[in-house]
């Protein structure tokens, strides 16, 4: 029975409290402000906005708005410029 109580307390109090704390922390950190900027955070120098970053092996990527092209040998990929 004691184990059931531990699980009950965990499920009903600790977990919801953790979720609320996470929400409070996120609001204080400004995680819900300037959302469009956060949406852009996955892009970087290597794979910027406007650059299509995947293609079948051996096929040159087409239609990129900018950024580095494929490697010259068609086998090795980026990072080493």
């Amino acid at each position: 029975m004691s184990v059931i109580w531990i699980l009950f307390v965990t499920g009903v109090i600790v977990l919801p409290a953790t979720a609320l704390l996470a929400l409070r922390w996120a609001m204080r950190q400004g995680e819900f402000r300037d959302l469009p900027r956060i949406a852009l955070s996955i892009f970087d120098e290597e794979e910027p906005v406007g650059q299509f970053s995947d293609h079948f092996p051996g096929a040159a990527p087409r239609g990129n708005a900018g950024g580095p092209g494929p490697s010259s040998d068609g086998k090795r990929i980026r990072h080493h410029s």
Binding site: I4, L7, L23, Q29, A39, S41, E45, F52, G58, H79
Partner: protein, 492 residues
């Protein structure tokens, strides 16, 4: 090496180029730090995928040819089927999910993978635990509880492994260089937090100090449903939210919707599960609450579906250029379809027909394979070339992998939903016998659908072999590039 256009050179000041070079170097450092860990995790997950598929084929074949391997006790249906389930859930899916999570966390936190040896150690524990568990199931030591069949002597290894991974996740998050959290990180962090809660609660309530009576089935369905919805689903969605915008080079259609989708998933999903017990000896309110929560799941499903579709809008022609996008879009669309199908299955009037039929099996595979597994394949296609600095060796193998698995799972799911529904209607008809070789019976009418299922399994297996060949070939190519870069290393 590509020549840099002069216009770009002129536009960038020395400080800019230095900053860009630093960022590029930091990115390369992150990918390089993940290399040994991801090679080990993805490699092992592929071995489990092949083992799990063979076990699935044996189990499927036995459903329409019961004499097949009938003399081998360790390969009877009651052992092979749970062995398949645990091999793909813990061996393949969880390991692939952990690998994808590690890479995404490192990339999004903009920090290299720290303490890689901890993850390697965790991976060893995880694989040993899974192997001991699968052998235990085949030896007849299964607990008999669905999704938790691994014998109690193997689960501590999985616990230790997961504890190490969880601690690693907290450390990486603590030392992140990117202040703000992208929506994928919300999903990934929540999954890392939810899984130990689910697994430990289910282990305690069902294995260590088992509750009595029908509460067991309630806990069992709570775990089985939530491990899909609170462990695999967040990781799958987190991956889609990263890879589709990243590959297309355009941000997600509506970021606010993605945040709403995450929090509504967190709020509604864990109430699900009891809808599988419609008609069972449980308090009606418990089942009703679960059905209501299942219907509420339309909120996160529609937000996610809308976001993925609108992000892709205008770029669908790109599907023919990108293997990653193919797998991701197939997985994303499957998530929407399987979730809305799940909402329908949760309704009392529908569940009364489809429960205890092959329709439920089709639904589970739609979620676990058509959605999650395809997303994991797409993630690996994106991650591995960046980590190894080598391209995938063959476009043909990738195409074979995609079409064999995509057609295979469609051929699996659609007929089995139809057959399962007809099976359910027949079971409700007292004039149709359950099993009678001389008359139209419930078992007899399902045979064509079960044979189709075995055929689809073979198709999927072909796709898995193509992927495994690609992976091994690519690793071999990477080893060759190491030899070229450092010939001395090969002599040592």
């Amino acid at each position: 090496m590509n020549a840099i256009p002069t216009t770009i050179v002129q536009a960038l000041s020395p400080a800019d180029t230095e900053d860009a070079a630093q960022k590029r170097a930091a990115l390369a450092e992150i990918d390089a730090s993940c290399r040994p860990v991801l090679l080990a995790l993805f490699g092992c997950s592929l071995v489990w995928l092949l083992i799990g598929t063979v076990l699935a084929l044996i189990a499927s074949w036995k459903l329409h040819a019961p004499d097949f391997l009938a003399n081998a006790a360790w390969l009877n249906f009651g052992r092979v089927r749970p062995a398949h389930l645990n091999a793909v859930i813990f061996g393949f899916a969880s390991e692939a999910a952990i690998g994808v999570t590690l890479w995404l966390m490192c990339r999004l936190c903009r920090t290299p993978l720290m303490f890689g040896w901890v993850i390697i150690l965790a991976g060893i524990f995880w694989n040993v635990g899974t192997a001991v568990g699968i052998v235990g199931i085949l030896a007849g030591h299964s607990t008999g509880i669905e999704w938790l069949e691994i014998p109690p002597y193997a689960t501590p290894l999985l616990f230790v492994s997961y504890a190490l991974i969880g601690i690693w996740g907290i450390i990486t998050f603590r030392y992140r260089r990117e202040k703000h959290l992208y929506v994928s990180q919300w999903y990934l962090l929540a999954a890392l937090f939810w899984f130990p809660w689910l697994y430990s609660a289910a282990q305690i309530l069902l294995i260590m100090e088992p509750v009595r009576g029908t509460v067991q089935s309630a806990v069992n369905w709570w775990f089985a449903h939530n491990v899909l919805g609170l462990w695999f689903t967040p990781i799958g969605l987190g991956a889609i939210y990263y890879f589709i915008p990243k590959v297309l080079g355009k941000p997600v259609y509506n970021y606010s919707l993605s945040v709403l989708g995450f929090w509504s998933l967190a709020l509604f999903y864990n109430w699900n599960g009891m809808h599988h017990l419609v008609g069972g000896p449980l308090p009606a309110w418990l089942i009703t609450v679960s059905i209501v929560a299942s219907v509420m799941m339309t909120i996160p499903v529609i937000t996610v579906g809308l976001n993925h579709h609108m992000t892709m809008f205008g770029s669908f022609r790109r599907l023919k250029d990108s293997p990653v996008l193919r797998f991701m879009v197939f997985g994303g669309m499957s998530y929407t379809v399987t979730s809305l199908h799940g909402v329908a299955l949760a309704l009392r009037s529908v569940s009364e027909v489809t429960h205890f039929t092959h329709s439920t099996v089709a639904h589970a595979h739609q979620g676990m394979y058509a959605f999650f597994t395809m997303v994991m394949f797409g993630s690996m296609y994106y991650i591995m070339p960046r980590v190894l600095q080598v391209e995938w060796p063959s476009a043909r193998l990738i195409r074979l992998h995609f079409w064999a698995t995509a057609i295979g799972i469609m051929v699996y799911v659609v007929p089995l939903i139809v057959g399962g529904t007809l099976q359910g209607l027949a079971m409700l008809n007292p004039d149709i016998p359950f099993l009678d070789p001389n008359k139209h019976s419930v078992v007899g009418m399902t045979l064509p659908y079960l044979k189709t299922r075995s055929f689809s399994g073979m198709l999927i297996f072909v796709g898995h072999i193509a992927f495994a060949v690609s992976f091994v070939w690519m690793t071999y190519r990477w080893l060759k590039t190491l030899q070229v870069r450092n010939p001395l290393a090969t002599r040592l």
